[in-house]
């Protein structure tokens, strides 16, 4: 009972304080600037407790944009490993979901981030509008972190 309450409390705090880190694995940066726009006045993700800093050590959520290019194929899993648990990955843009327009004959990209690291949420669109990103992030992530303790068992999560 106490244990359950504690888990709930942890989940609540985690869902209110989220650090994100955006990694562009070779996209056209259309998605990156739309994510950046989410941190400015209109959409301001900070009001939901979502902070942006590209330091993997303090990241909870890795936002991946872009198809995974040759140079990133080994670097992306490494970067993912650096992020301490609990962590989530959001693929933003059709590139990160599936390789997008670049993943066809002649292209030299992997088919989306999910082939290299586990992806928890996808926001399709090329690029998604900031309001679509905000909607996805604000609806999915807090729930994800609230449930994390129960679903993955917080053995190593301290």
């Amino acid at each position: 009972m106490v244990c359950c309450l504690l888990k709930k409390l942890k989940g609540l705090i985690r869902s209110r304080s989220i650090h994100v880190s955006v990694v562009n694995t070779g996209g056209c940066n259309g998605c990156d600037i739309e994510i950046l726009a989410c941190f400015t006045y209109r959409y301001d993700l900070e009001q939901y407790g979502i902070y942006y800093h590209n330091n993997p050590r303090k990241t909870d959520v890795l936002i991946v944009t872009g198809p995974v290019t040759e140079q990133w194929k080994d670097k992306l899993p490494k970067l993912y490993d650096k992020v301490p648990e609990p962590k989530a990955v959001v693929a933003v843009g059709s590139c990160a979901c599936s390789g997008g327009i670049f993943n066809q004959d002649g292209g030299r990209v992997g088919g989306g981030a999910a082939e290299f690291i586990p992806v928890d949420a996808e926001v399709p669109g090329c690029p998604p509008r900031p309001d679509e990103i905000v909607k996805a992030v604000v609806e999915v992530l807090p729930t994800f972190f609230r449930r994390w303790e129960f679903e993955r068992g917080g053995g190593d999560g301290r």
Binding site: S17, E46, P84, R158
Partner: protein, 286 residues
């Protein structure tokens, strides 16, 4: 009894410090014309990191790496206990501040990453912290003849606030507050160019300890500033003045970029030099 007092004092310092840091961020956000995070956000960050996985990078010097955050909390808890809870001597406060500098340097060097090393070195070469602190405390001693907070407060009761006697030292101490508040232009040791300076490699609960010590530090410095230079001893007034000071600091931090290390050192030295003006400039209002 002592244990309980200390515990309550430190906890209060941590909570209040966190909330004022949150207010700092909120005010900055409002100046940037966005809604901004809730005021308890910094507190939530600290708690969040407390539960997050922590580990030492392979390159780190492990003992130092693990101990730095712990010592940091101990140092600032002691400082707040001596200065704010028991209103004791200010010399240990200075010693603790110097220890904090050494520890931050240790934090930078121990993790073995280039960014943290540069950050640690940058933090160590910023001289104004200790200089301003030392000089302003010495000036305070020369004027009041006391080295402990309760003595200074008693002196101020009869003579009026200390800032009127040594305004430049007050300014120097205020600069110290400015340096130590987040996003300060005078503190390039956590600049984005070196990712996050000496904090770069701290994940999980170690970072949480770092944040805790920072919140206590913020409270402690604001408290000492008010007690020594503004002569305020009433806790309620304290809270209001802290809010006001936070607003001023946030505005200053929001409207300036971060300077390069050399420029920052230049400003620090200038500010530290300011205090000698106290001995030279006549003060007709006294």
């Amino acid at each position: 009894m002592i244990v309980i007092d200390t515990f309550v004092g430190v906890t209060e310092a941590f909570l209040v410090g966190s909330i004022y840091l949150g207010l700092h961020r909120k005010i900055m956000a409002r100046i940037q014309r966005r809604p901004g995070p809730p005021i308890i956000q910094e507190l939530l960050h600290t708690l969040k990191f407390l539960f997050k996985e922590g580990y030492a990078p392979i390159t780190s010097a492990e003992f130092l790496y693990w101990m730095v955050p712990v010592f940091n909390v101990i140092v600032w808890s002691s400082a707040v206990t001596i200065a704010a809870v028991y209103r004791g001597n200010l010399l240990p406060f200075f010693a603790f501040y110097a220890a904090y500098k050494v520890l931050s340097h240790g934090a930078g060097v121990s993790s073995g990453s280039t960014y943290t090393k540069i950050g640690g070195v940058r933090h160590a070469i910023m001289p104004a912290g200790e200089l301003a602190l030392a000089c302003s405390l010495i000036s305070a001693y020369f004027v009041t003849g006391h080295m402990d907070v309760s003595g200074i407060l008693a002196w101020e009761k009869t003579h009026g606030a200390l800032w009127r006697y040594i305004p430049f030292s007050t300014l120097a101490f205020f600069t110290l507050l400015w340096i130590d508040s987040p996003h300060s232009p005078l503190d390039p040791s956590k600049g984005y160019d070196i990712v996050e300076g000496y904090l770069t490699e701290y994940p999980g609960f170690l970072r949480s300890l770092m944040y805790t010590s920072e919140a206590i530090k913020y409270f402690c410095e604001l408290w000492v500033f008010q007690a020594v230079f503004l002569g305020i001893s009433d806790p309620v007034v304290h809270m209001f003045v802290m809010g006001g000071l936070t607003a001023i600091l946030a505005t200053l931090c929001a409207l300036t970029p971060i300077l390069t290390p050399y420029q920052a050192v230049g400003v620090h030295v200038t500010v530290a030099g300011l205090m000698f003006l106290d001995t030279l400039v006549p003060k007709p209002w006294i």
